[in-house]
């Protein structure tokens, strides 16, 4: 692989005793849309602020396009940021907000006017160019913030919770639009978000952060289907975790003894670990089939009793309590209008899944 466009090399940032970012190393390619995903206090915003230059790493280096930017102040970086609060200058019109960064570059006036018009049309805000930020709706402000951040044609655009303040419907539309703009301009985007759904929709790759560390990096489907830790499995989407120990581990298959599940879970491939080692088996709710009596044979079948059914339109989520007391969540697409088997609370059910859909986690 060629040299990465952005190299974050062993970066740590402490505030007093607190490690906000703890020894993070990450490579990001040119033109990539990378999502940093994590809860509050995971260090994702601090990492973004270090890329922008607002914070300095305590140790480590940040290299952007082959240049060590660790000690370069924000105004001298070819990097722009779209703030979560949008941070539009309230005393300037939309036009002047967009032109602000261009004036600072010393661009000739005529060229600024052209660029501003271009940016306004990119975000479809031509008609509101003379408005002040407080005369705009949330969605319009978001567009102006994006246009302002893109106006200087940065090498790298940082977006801090770019869609956080929008309502759900608008957010979905804007996600697609953001992706379109990104791929048409070819600028590298790094998006910080706490919303795992947003990260999966937007990102070419995601980096999941927890307690200042990057715990997993990968394409959205890799992170979702093959989480490498309990934290990631639990943070991204919903998951059922069964504690157990490795009972048998061969080259072609393995068995995990799980009193919690009430069965020995069969996994049709080798697992990393030795016999007797405690592990967890992670299983997504949509990968389990629920029935009174399963029509097809499954590698693994659990039995339990339905305690609750949560109906959310397109999906129904069944809460099933096993003999061990463990509660399992199973989701099913509502293909028919009525529940086909008429399963209700209190019914005894079988839960089937194949070992291929499960992930064995050592940590």
């Amino acid at each position: 692989m060629s040299n990465p466009f952005i190299r974050i090399d062993g970066v740590t940032r402490t505030f007093g005793e607190v490690y906000a970012v703890d020894d993070v190393s990450l490579d990001i390619q040119q033109g990539e849309l990378f999502c940093l995903l994590g809860g509050s206090g995971s260090g994702k915003s601090t990492l973004l602020r270090m890329l922008a230059g607002f914070e300095r790493p305590t140790t480590g280096r940040i290299i952007i396009d082959g240049r060590d930017m660790t000690d370069v102040p924000p105004h001298a970086r070819d990097v722009n940021m779209m703030f979560q609060s949008y941070a539009l200058f309230p005393h300037m019109s939309v036009e002047r907000n967009i032109a602000y960064g261009l004036h600072r570059m010393g661009m000739p006036r005529a060229q600024i006017a052209t660029r501003v018009t271009e940016m306004l049309s990119l975000v479809q805000m031509e008609k509101l160019a003379r408005r002040k930020p407080d005369q705009l709706s949330g969605g319009q402000r978001q567009r102006v913030a994006l246009a302002r951040a893109l106006a200087r044609r940065p090498k790298l655009l940082l977006l801090d919770e770019p869609l956080g303040a929008l309502d759900r419907k608008l957010r979905e539309e804007t996600q697609l639009e953001l992706k379109k703009i990104q791929s048409s301009l070819g600028i590298t985007f790094i998006v910080v978000t706490h919303d795992q759904e947003e990260a999966m929709t937007l990102g070419d790759r995601l980096g999941v952060m927890n307690e200042g560390r990057i715990v997993q990096v990968g394409a959205p489907h890799e992170v979702y289907e093959f989480p490498q830790s309990r934290f990631v499995a639990d943070f991204i989407g919903t998951v059922n975790l069964f504690d157990g120990t490795i009972a048998e581990d061969r080259d072609t298959d393995a068995v995990i003894a799980s009193p919690e599940a009430g069965i020995d879970i069969r996994i049709p491939h080798a697992v990393a670990g030795t016999a007797g080692q405690p592990v967890a088996v992670a299983l997504r709710p949509e990968k389990i089939v629920i029935s009174r009596t399963l029509p097809d044979p499954y590698d693994n079948v659990l039995t339990g009793q339905v305690t609750d059914i949560v109906y959310s339109g397109n999906l129904s989520v069944f809460h099933v309590t096993l003999a061990s007391g463990k509660r399992v969540r199973v989701s099913r697409t509502n293909r028919l209008r009525a529940e086909s088997e008429g399963i209700g609370a209190g019914d005894a059910v079988q839960l089937g899944f194949t070992g291929h859909s499960a992930v064995v986690l050592a940590s």
Binding site: F54, P74, H75, F83, A87, S93
Partner: protein, 289 residues
């Protein structure tokens, strides 16, 4: 209920500003007299004839003696220069307080307000002790050897400026602090992110957004400074010409209440006109898209 609440400040202003103002206006167009009170009544009813004696002579008199015009100009000049000095001193102080860590801001604001715990008169008086020929400042400078003769500081315009700036500094700092502390730190980051150096950010973002505080603080200093009496009386010299002392002399030395009232009325107009204009300009700024 809401109307009632709005009525309270209106009633307050009516009772304690408008009524005294009208009384003053009435005196200012009366004939002076050696009597108690020392002016003639405005209306006279005698033999079925109502006489209204409007004496505009007091105002005409103000234009005849250059002392009054010079005093107004000098007062406005002293107040304006003091306001600028207070702004130059107060802005950085307010900025530092607004940017200080939150737990320390309370203490710093407290220090700004602390002088108010002592009487204004005492504080101005204390400056006499500091500034006089054998005062603390001169003695200290002599002891160090910076000067070999005491500096003349007391009873100069310098002392008046010093006294006004010292006294009114908190009135500048507090409104400035109020606007600066509300300034969103993200805006400063955004400006730096878009390529502005710290100095440019200050001029293009911080300063314009703190203008309401600058205007409010300047008004709070300028208006009382124009009519200031105690500070020039205690610290100023015979050459310090301020309308406050002229007013005092007319009222209490000459006992010419009508002229004194005219001086006061003109002072209110001198202050009210620029403020009214400024407010209109500001209102128009706000409307402009």
């Amino acid at each position: 209920m809401k109307r009632l609440v709005a009525l309270i400040p209106m009633a307050w202003l009516g009772l304690f500003f408008l009524v005294p103002f009208l009384v003053l206006l009435k005196i200012s167009v009366s004939e002076p007299a050696i009597a108690q009170p020392p002016y003639m009544p405005l209306l006279d009813w005698a033999d079925g004839i109502l006489t209204i004696a409007l004496n505009l002579g007091n105002y005409i008199f103000l234009t005849e003696d250059p002392l009054y015009l010079l005093s107004y100009l000098s007062s406005v000049k002293i107040a304006a220069i003091s306001t600028i000095l207070t702004l130059l001193l107060g802005y950085p102080m307010a900025y530092v307080i607004a940017r200080a860590p939150e737990h320390r801001r309370g203490l710093l604001l407290m220090l700004v307000i602390l002088p108010f715990w002592t009487s204004f008169l005492l504080r101005v008086y204390a400056w006499i002790g500091l500034l006089k020929a054998n005062g603390i400042v001169n003695n200290a400078l002599l002891a160090v050897g910076v000067i070999d003769q005491p500096l003349v500081m007391l009873q100069t315009d310098f002392a008046v400026y010093l006294g006004i700036v010292y006294t009114y500094l908190p009135f500048m700092i507090l409104p400035l602090y109020a606007t600066l502390s509300k300034l969103d730190a993200d805006l400063l980051d955004a400006s730096a992110d878009l390529g502005a150096r710290p100095g440019t950010t200050f001029l293009t973002v911080t300063l314009p957004l703190s203008l309401p505080g600058v205007v409010a603080g300047s008004m709070l200093v300028f208006i009382p400074a124009v009519g200031e009496y105690i500070i020039p009386a205690l610290l100023g010299g015979p050459g310090t010409l301020m309308i406050g002392s002229v007013l005092w002399n007319e009222f209490f030395l000459n006992r010419d209440w009508p002229v004194a009232a005219a001086v006061a009325i003109v002072m209110v107009l001198v202050l009210a006109l620029p403020i009214g204009l400024l407010r209109r300009v500001q209102a128009r700024e706000g409307e402009r898209p």
